[in-house]
Amino acid sequence: MPKGFIITRWTEDEGLVLYLNYPKDIPVDLDDMMRVFYAHITGAGEAGNVLVRLEKAQCNVASYFTGLEHEFPLMINLMLELGEDPDMFGEAILRQINQSILNYVMKYGSNITQAYDAMEKLKAYLKNALFLLERLKNLTKEQLLAQIYSNKKKRVILNILQNGPMSKKDLRNKIEDSLNVIISNIDTTLDPFIKTNLVKQDWIEGLSEIFLFLINDFTIIRTPPEKIVKDAKKNSPTSELAGKYLEKVKEFFLHYEPDNKDSLKIAQIMMNPDKYDFLSLFRARPYPMTKIPKGEGSTFTSTESLIQAMVSDNILTLIPDSRNIDWVFLLCDITSETFYPEYLLEIIRKLYINKQIKNEVVIKHLEFLENAYVK
């Protein structure tokens, strides 16, 4: 699990100074911090993320630097165990956390009278952030798929493999070229693909490389909440609410056209543990606003604000009953379903005809596809 946060600030007078470490007992070695800092400023010293392995401290550091040109140059270091990778949390989540921390610092950092309260609020936020990250380590399969979808690097991998098999080495080079990033550990990046059985890797006899084969594909789309709709058709919870609900759902899906932008958005909702908890809750039944069970993972925000956020994202909808109490209904479910990539047969055939891949690789991929089919 993540060890904690070490936030340092760069000043021209003092150099790199500790701004905040959370939890308190996390050791801070400024020499290590300097190493991370150098990793950031090597080059243009622009804002960005780096992953640094600290042998002495036996940890990985996922670090975000605002850049030297920033008005408040800050380095936010998420201290991880050696085997942990920030990819496992999803770049969107980490970006959101970094942005929130920066917001706290920017909002209160300069106001001395509010400094103490601000620091306490930041600590509370960091506490919740660590809790959130811990929860992100235990994702369901659909969350893992959402994590893949919400990660640009992984989306690129998926797109590449949707066009045929590729050796691990070639894949790594292609990603590094197309995204202009360095892949320190391709196996960690591929881990969710393997865990979710999207990709198989195997040696090919006579070739010295490991090849990657897509054997399952997936997408993330909105779908009508099956159980709630069925219940509504039976006038549940009430005929009035059910009628209104069905109208709303039909109205929504009459105009809904799945697209990548929306898919990315709902993938990030899936990745948010609090929102995912609500999604799971409202898949079972609608609740009046006043009787929503309090989830264990209400980390950041209040129930009401979470619901409002999900309503504005068209995941939930509010329907008042005769007593003018709002009922929270699941307007649309988020489905991250895998499917059999039959389209690959034609792609593979073309690759074979054009001699773009070796016969052995083609045969291996077809064998995997034969065995991967699930009725």
């Binding site: 040696w203 799945p258 039959e342 047969l345 034609e346 005809i353 016969n359 077809l366 034969e370 089919y373």
Partner: protein, 552 residues
């Protein structure tokens, strides 16, 4: 973990084929097995062992009969004193012909068919059958004479075998060996017999050279032939080679036995000449003289040549013909129960022989058992028979497989003679205490399962076929079949030019989405702007007309 899927797949395919093969074989064997077992073995009624034969002790001839196959003269069957006997008929005899030709003149002279010229003198007298001949450069250079005697056998030899034979014939002769002096004329013709061992002594005194390839000789012989003289065999002879030698002088041959052919050949010749009418044959004695022309004025003086006696003796025995068989038989009752099954059938009997069987002559003759003309696999060699009764088989013979249902059970105990041989005396094989004990059960007939069996066969074959089709084809969904087909084509390096008609990614996603929203029963509202406009126009026209009416 990296799996070697190809190997695993091959192994799995082998296992599948093994099971398909197994089921295919099973589907064929099971119905056959069922067809062979259409009766359910329910023992409704068990028979105690029943003695199936009557008069098993041969107290009389009742119930028993016999038959003989082959030469009926070879055996006689009877029932006597409580035993059933197979008597193999043996017989023997000896024939002798002796002629002392110094006393026996009962011969007919005849010519030798190959050398028809007779010598100067030939007769049977006190010296025997005699010949003398003087040749002096004449045409009678090669002369011969035969005396014949027709002989008749006391028995018809057709059913006899000659087992031994001997022949003795004695001859002698006197010749002029050296040149004689002709006081009255020329000394050219000396009269001396010239033989190859003469070294020119007999040559012409006037100086002519000796000519010779064989020398002068006489051949005494004995022939036998059939009465018609179609087959003639020389069975004894004596041809001189040094009679007439000058030095040392040999001008006399004392009584000398002719050389006889070996006994086996003599037997063969005798059997041949007797095979015409099995009764008569001819014996002939004869002498043939060859006077070789040894020089230009040669003469040969054969003073007195004689055959003194002939003695032909042969023995014969009764011929037992190969494959002759003699059987004691009894026709027993039938098992008429339609659904009976024989559980046990044991045949017991005793046998003996009065003389030791001639094993060297017929080692494979035996006692055989037949039930309804079907042979039992075991037999009893006659060489094992002793002079006292013994059990043919300890515990009896299990003949249950030979018992036919619904037919009279006919037992035959057969003495089978496996060789042709001479039997010089009668040999009797006897049997006694013949018992055939049969046990059987009655089965409940099973319902006719033919249709069931055929149905089952068809079903199993269909099942196996379906199973095979399923395992090899239909088990895989269409899309996987396409993947398999493509892989196999690529593996076998066949062309894959034709595009695979398959859903692209967008189609798959769209289809999936459409399935998901089916639950909402969404129906897009029909768009009918033109129709609505027309309806609105009609309404307005109607209103206008009504207003006009009101105004009026």
């Amino acid at each position: 973990m990296i799996l070697n899927i190809t190997k695993l797949r091959k192994k799995t395919t082998k296992i599948k084929f093994f099971f398909i093969f197994y089921f295919a074989v099973f589907s064929i064997l099971l119905p056959i097995s069922l067809m062979n077992n259409v009766h359910i073995k329910i023992d409704l009624f068990s028979e105690e062992p029943t003695q199936w034969l009557n008069n098993s002790n041969f107290d009389s001839t009742e119930y028993w009969f016999y038959n003989i196959k082959g030469d009926a003269t070879d055996a006689q069957l009877n029932i006597y004193q409580g035993e059933a006997n197979y008597k193999m008929i043996g017989d023997n005899g000896t024939y002798n012909f002796f002629s002392n030709l110094t006393q026996d003149t009962n011969w007919q002279v005849s010519e030798n068919p190959d050398f028809p010229a007779f010598p100067d003198h030939y007769e049977i007298n006190r010296s025997g059958a005699c010949v003398s001949h003087y040749w002096i450069e004449g045409a009678d250079q090669s002369v011969a004479v035969n005396w014949n005697r027709n002989l008749e056998m006391p028995v018809n030899m057709s059913d006899f075998i000659i087992t031994s034979a001997s022949l003795e014939a004695i001859c002698n002769g006197t010749v002029q060996a050296t040149p004689s002096v002709d006081n009255d004329g020329s000394e050219e013709y000396t009269g001396a017999i010239d033989v190859m061992s003469d070294s020119g002594i007999d040559t012409d005194p006037t100086g002519g050279g000796f000519q010779g390839a064989t020398g002068d000789y006489i051949r005494y012989y004995v022939w036998i032939s059939d009465e018609e003289n179609n087959d003639i065999f020389e069975v004894a002879y004596n041809q001189t080679y040094n009679l007439g030698q000058d030095d040392p002088l040999i001008d006399t041959m004392e009584d000398t036995y002719m050389v006889c052919v070996p006994e086996e050949i003599l037997i063969f010749y005798l059997s041949t000449v007797l095979s015409k009418d099995y009764k008569n044959f001819t014996i002939s004695i004869g002498m043939r003289i060859w006077c070789e022309d040894n020089f230009w004025q040669d003469a040969d003086n054969w003073t007195l040549m004689a055959i003194k006696s002939v003695n032909l003796t042969f023995s014969y025995e009764k011929k037992i013909n190969q494959f002759t068989s003699a059987s004691w038989c009894q026709i027993g009752a039938a098992i008429d129960e339609p659904n009976a099954e024989v559980t046990s059938a044991i045949l017991r009997f005793k046998y003996k022989i009065n003389h030791t069987w001639p094993a060297s002559l017929s080692p494979f003759s035996e006692i055989r058992i037949l039930l309804n003309d079907n042979f039992h696999s075991q037999s009893i060699p006659l060489t094992s028979a002793t002079s006292s009764f013994q059990e043919a088989e300890s515990g009896g013979f299990d003949v249950s497989k030979l018992i036919l249902l619904g037919a009279n059970i006919t037992l035959s105990i057969q003495v089978f003679l496996a060789n042709t041989f001479g039997l010089n005396k009668n040999i009797t094989v006897s049997i006694d205490d013949v018992k055939l004990e049969i046990s059987y059960i009655i089965l409940e007939p099973a319902p006719d399962l033919t249709l069931v069996v055929y149905g089952l066969t068809g079903g199993i074959i269909a099942l196996v076929t379906l199973f095979g089709l399923y395992e090899l084809h239909f088990k895989y969904p269409p899309v996987v079949r396409r993947a398999r087909k493509l892989r196999k084509k690529i593996q076998s390096k066949r062309k894959v030019k034709n595009p695979i008609e398959i859903n692209n990614r967008d189609d798959i996603l769209n289809n999936s989405y459409q399935d998901k929203i089916k639950i909402l029963d969404l129906e897009p509202e029909p768009e009918q702007p033109e129709l609505d406009d027309k309806i609105e126009n009609i309404k307005q026209n109607i209103e206008t007309e009504e207003m006009k009416k009101e105004e009026r």
